[in-house]
Symmetry: none
Subunit: 161 residues, 2 copies
DNA sequence: TGCAAAATCACCCGAAAGAATGACGACATC
DNA sequence: GATGTCGTCATTCTTTCGGGTGATTTTGCA
């Protein structure tokens, strides 16, 4: 992706330079500006379309890889596997590695269940502000900016069912 | 599709005409040709990329049914699950039963990945308001009041990976 | 070709969420 | 006793979400 932009920039620069150069070489016909504009426009439009197609292709590919990775992680986490009745054991190693406390994980699981901060506060008999604090710390440790993202990360890391 | 190309042509013509016109109006600074070239290049590159993305998106949408059919066939052949390489096939029955459209499900998956409405809007080249509308409808159909809840429900119903 | 469904966008408003701080007590550990 | 961690709570402020409503455009299908 970054490479594409780079290539794009380089090619663009070269193109413009070439146009500049050729202007002093070839016959300077009338309406040269608009001709050049058109030429540049067509070239870049084509290139842009190509780039667009390529980007989407890349994106699909990369997202597919991500899915595979996730699946692998899941496999590692549940090697013995008891799909139906397992109460789910959170990945303690990950938890400790990230410094996530038990309370934070507890709040996280409730967040993952779709509860609001207020509902969590009620359920745990604490104030909403406390829930927010725990959330903020957990999000920080997970590198998440939103609760949905935190849930996603938590599942990836095996912290949440 | 044909319309896109038409728009492209019209916009291109207008742009070049505008450039032509402005040249005789504004101060003709030195290196004006290369500046114009750069300007045109940037504009058309952007437009080209946008067009390319849009075209691919359309094509994805229209060809999605075909892809799904293939996936369904695969599911029938391997009903005992093949966890490693399946790209995940959303539960179409549930989706239809709830009246959730393809677009809504698409937004839902992005919500599940932890993206904000704005990020989703950027990624799908639509306005944030549109994303909100899709979200609201999807939440309504899922009986969810929050996005975390919607994600939870979506996973329960086999709509999301 | 015309119609119904989908998709798109806008605007408003209130509620929820999150960021940034600061603070305080309990508890363990050294 | 000093230190550190954890859980708790508050306040302020900004951003994001979600509900509600209406409108237009696009699309798919009959």
């Amino acid at each position: 992706m970054r490479r594409h932009v780079l290539i794009f920039g380089v090619v663009g620069g070269l193109l413009i330079a070439t146009l500049q150069y050729t202007e002093y070489r070839f016959v300077v016909i009338e309406h040269s500006v608009e001709l050049y504009s058109a030429l540049v426009a067509i070239l870049f439009a084509t290139f842009g379309i190509w780039l667009g197609l390529r980007i989407t292709r890349r994106r699909e590919t990369s997202s597919r890889e991500t899915i595979r990775e996730t699946v692998v992680v899941r496999e590692v986490l549940v090697p013995a596997e008891a799909p139906a009745l397992e109460p789910f054991a959170p990945n303690k190693a990950q938890q400790q590695a990230l410094g996530i406390t038990a309370r934070e994980l507890e709040i996280l699981t409730l967040v993952a269940r779709g509860l609001s901060n207020r509902e969590i506060a009620t359920q745990l008999f604490v104030s909403e502000n406390t829930v927010k604090t725990h959330c903020a710390r957990a999000f920080d440790k997970l590198g998440a900016a939103r609760r949905t993202q935190a849930v996603q990360r938590g599942k990836e890391l095996g912290l949440l069912p």
